[in-house]
Point group: C2
Chain length 619, copies 2
């Protein structure tokens, strides 16, 4: 990792407005809330002491602000083009990719044997907060390359790994993920792409895929496509799906590039946002010449996908959250500078106009954006820490517990976070008034980009079904119980602190209500009421998310209160007090509404389940 | 009004999917809920019997579906361009405008003396539902021309009217509204454009305006700009603002076009949506040669604006609602056709995949979109009816009551409706999954266009302040009391009907809770708590809107129940039953959550009011 001039810049910028992500808050979550440095006591992460972590975050921030952010608007306007089979990405991305790869940022938390940096996931997420907030369409290229590489690392043979992996983790070659087909979206099991085994052990692959991010582009000299397909004679549904590696250009045994493969991009989507990321329709084997190799075992493609799913969904949550993080700071900085209207307490004609941050409605919006942004950061970095703990834990029970927590939190981290992120980005436009609707400011682009995070990697409706149908019931509800017990620990600490005792009580009551609601839904999965239960899947995701946010904010308040005795400067005093006030605001104004929603769920209203299709009208 | 082939098309399309607006529901609101035909008993509206109204709606629908809708995507992609001072709008708009004006649709409810059609506002709103849902960026040209014309009609001298009005209401000339300046947005009183009286009675005007929809365009041969400016020596603030008429090209006394005025377009905004509508920066008098005439009285510009405000805000509500109306029907039609995944009750591998409308989460989204769409339609058309009743009422007390209801409902019609409209359009994208994010379908454009409705004509934050600060307190709370009493009438009817008795009770309780909440806020407008009260202005708008939606839906259910005894066909049976089910869904699942929000407001949490500016972080 190239670390050149981090701290310098930090000092210079100390008095300036923060953009993209609030460094004070990033540091708070890493060091004060999660105490990430304790990982350095393990052999795996021994290099990552506080100083190193801070340097990494500073370097990521520099790169994000100096290189990724400045081309955000230009890339949105240029978009991608397809001409004669060649997809051109925004011009500036070539330079940014070079710098990104030189800094070795692509495989931050991966195995050093394959060119990864081996850093804790939580630290990598902090870097990704800056990268995604500064230019999430660019980062999609990175994420796809990394995700494809990860599949090779996890499921590849030694030969596959040695042929592909270093070039993928270094960013020299890109990656994608060929999963969706026109008639197989949410229902992956319906896919029809076919694979036929050849005498040399390779497979001939034929099919059409759509919505393939980075499926084709001129950023890299080769693209390695993981492809889901069905081997001739395999079972129907998800049980008959296998995973293949299909390079855009074949790779010879000595690692040199061979013949182009029969994989072509037949179109790119025009989209609402993420214009810098080409969304490709791909045709495999249209001339009968597409060859790939099996990755992992026959018919085990879906299990491979499942292994990758938590990481991918967490990352989509990061994208949505990072849009919010950036939108909030833009709105905050604008509200501090934009002068408009009189203060409500000095409305006289000759009174001076004031910055709009002094108007109550603006403050309400800003505080709402702030607490969601901070709560989301805590949640996502915390899941990163849990992943690190799974990796270093030597105790099997502990490891299982961490994994259970990850499993139950992932639909919240993807579904709830991106739902709220879209709302917050919308509020971030409102603060700018008419300017927010123009491309002069980044707010509208953040909103447009954010929308895709509610859709891809499983729509948020699918996330809600995952929470209700899988996560609540897995291992007799062990994961959900684990969540309940973990929250209880924070509640216990807060109960001992006078300034937040009432908040602890509120969260405790909400937890009891959430448990009851979860029990109600899992008790209604029989044929008579299952439709009603699933009609409440998304509302249940919402209320679970509200409760988890309350937990994260109360946890922050507890940590802040512990520090308040020993505060060294007024900036810290403001910061810690704000943690207590933020928790109070959320738990006193959002959580009671959420409890009413829980009660609505438990009322078991059957309208959605029972209403006739004709009743929807429209004919 | 050219009525050529309405009913034919209606019959032909009877079995086809509805698009843009559900005709059955439009008819229900006009004829069954609002009984609009009773207006034909008045002299003013005697021509508008049911047959005529139905023909008007059919013709509007034909024009919307056949001409406005087909160029929606093309216009979004072409957008507007500015070159050498000329703003070009999307090519197709020229043809559409010609047809629109030939059909005499621009001044539907205006005075026939000036070329208007004199139809009831409620009927014009039904037509506008189709026009705005099919192509709202095109309609912005129409609205601006109409609004400027209305100002001339209301405040112009006979000479101003005879010079401008017929050409404006016929669509031959366009209009705009030059209000906002870079430092005077929400705070109109801060504007600095200056007017100096000349010896000939005209005024020389100098200033810069921004965000001017249709400020310049090549659709029409002349544009008449109403301009807000301050006459030399006038008071500061809103009390010193006057209104002027500034033509793009001067009009000679004989009505012929004269010299170009000194009004130029210096730039157009690149925006998130409404690409077919140019948003112009305008420079007046940069060569010292901009001349205009006073419209109305000196220093009374703001009162003129206030007279127009209800109409303009109602129209913005219509725009947002019409996006929802279209998004809902698109989503519904898609959900009926798109096959994906197994039914929850037949999940076997060999079971057939089903249309996604059979999945509970999809049904929940669709039903939510439907009830909001229908409730919004009832509310907006109802306000149109109230406007008609104000116009024809001969009883002063009755008239005052109707006007009071309009006044208190306008912030809901603009602020609440567009807030929910944006949410519903976002849900309308979700139903399409990845396709919803692409430009292949209209969903993402509806969402992008809808966003502006939360911002212009007073941001929704401003609407919330209007409700709390003006409408709740005007005439000792008379308007709010009027609303309460009117809702009570519906509740009373519903209490007498067994199938909705429990819903009536719920709404009654919510009303009591809303009244208490309103009293709490108006009781807290003193210096100690006013910041807390205004921090709750937007939440109060939300809960008021939820209550009004519940009322509209219960009213629909009452009307439907009255008809159910006498139903002639299964389509009507489905329709009426759906009204009862829709009311139940909303009142049982949304209203209880709203009541929790009312209680949160009354808890008077002071965090937003008291938190320090430093606490927002970001420095």
């Amino acid at each position: 990792m190239l670390i050149t001039h981090g701290t310098d810049t930090d000092n210079r910028e100390n008095d300036m407005a923060q953009i993209v992500a609030d460094r004070r808050d990033v540091d708070f979550v890493l060091h004060e809330q999660l105490e990430i440095e304790r990982l350095s006591k393990t052999r795996k992460f021994s290099e990552f002491n506080r100083k190193t972590i801070d340097l990494i975050v500073s370097e990521a921030r520099n790169l994000a602000l100096k290189e990724l952010l400045p081309c955000m608007r230009e890339a949105d306007e240029q978009g991608c083009t397809l001409e004669n089979g060649v997809v051109r990405v925004p011009e500036a991305f070539h330079r940014v990719l070079r710098l990104f790869c030189e800094g070795e940022w692509l495989a931050m938390s991966d195995d050093q044997d394959w060119g990864g940096q081996g850093m804790p996931s939580a630290v990598a997420l902090a870097a990704n907060n800056y990268f995604n907030g500064a230019n999430f369409p660019f980062m999609l290229h990175i994420i796809l390359a990394h995700g494809a590489g990860k599949l090779v690392e996890k499921f590849g043979t030694e030969k596959q790994k040695s042929l592909f992996l270093k070039n993928m983790y270094s960013g020299k070659w890109g990656g994608s993920m060929l999963l969706t087909e026109p008639a197989a979206g949410s229902d992956v099991g319906a896919l029809t792409t076919r694979a036929v085994k050849n005498d040399d052990g390779t497979y001939s692959i034929t099919g059409n895929k759509i919505f393939i991010s980075s499926g084709e582009n001129n950023l890299v000299e080769n693209i390695i496509h993981p492809v889901l397909a069905r081997i001739e004679g395999a079972p129907e549904g998800t049980a008959g799906i296998s995973l293949f590696l299909v390079p855009k250009i074949q790779v010879n045994d000595d690692g040199s590039l061979g013949e182009p493969n029969d994989v072509i991009c037949t179109g790119i989507e025009e989209k609402m946002g993420i214009h810098g990321s080409p969304t490709c329709s791909m045709s495999l084997g249209s001339r009968g010449l597409c060859r790939g190799t099996l990755l992992g075992k026959e018919n085990k493609g879906m299990s491979a996908m499942f292994v990758m799913m938590n990481e991918a969904r967490l990352h989509v949550g990061m994208q949505g959250f990072s849009c919010t993080s950036a939108s909030y700071l833009n709105a905050l900085n604008y509200a501090r500078e934009r002068v408009q209207g009189k203060h409500l307490l000095s409305p006289a004609k000759d009174a001076p106009s004031v910055p709009i941050i002094q108007h109550p409605d603006v403050r309400r919006i800003l505080l709402t954006m702030k607490v969601y942004s901070e709560g989301m950061r805590s949640l996502l970095f915390y899941i990163g820490l849990l992943e690190d703990l799974v990796r270093v834990s030597e105790d099997e029970t502990g490891k299982k517990g961490y994994q259970a927590l990850i499993d139950v939190l992932i639909p919240v981290a993807k579904g709830y976070v991106t739902d709220r992120a879209f709302e917050m980005c919308s509020q971030g436009v409102q603060i700018f008034g008419g300017y927010g609707f123009t491309k002069e400011y980044p707010q509208e682009q953040l909103l447009r980009n954010c929308k895709i995070t509610q859709i891809y990697e499983g729509t948020n409706g699918i996330q809600a079904m995952d929470l209700l149908g899988r996560k609540l019931t897995m291992n007799n509800g062990e994961a959900f119980d684990m969540l309940v017990n973990t929250i209880a620990t924070t509640v216990g600490k807060a109960e001992a602190m006078a300034p937040v005792r009432d908040l602890a009580k509120d969260l405790d009551l909400a937890m009891a209500c959430l448990k009851k609601t979860a029990g109600f839904l899992t008790g209604n999965l029989g044929p008579d009421t299952i439709l009603m239960a699933y009609a409440n899947a998304h509302p249940f995701l919402d209320v679970t998310g509200d409760t988890v946010m309350s937990w994260m904010l109360l946890w922050r308040a507890v940590v802040a209160l512990e520090k308040l005795d020993d505060v060294k400067n007024s900036r810290d005093l403001d910061f810690y007090n704000a943690q207590v006030e933020g928790a109070r605001f959320f738990i006193k104004t959002v959580l009671p509404v959420s409890r009413a929603r829980m009660e609505v769920i438990r009322s078991g209203d059957m309208t959605v389940a029972k209403i006739s299709e004709a009743a929807f009208g429209g004919k």
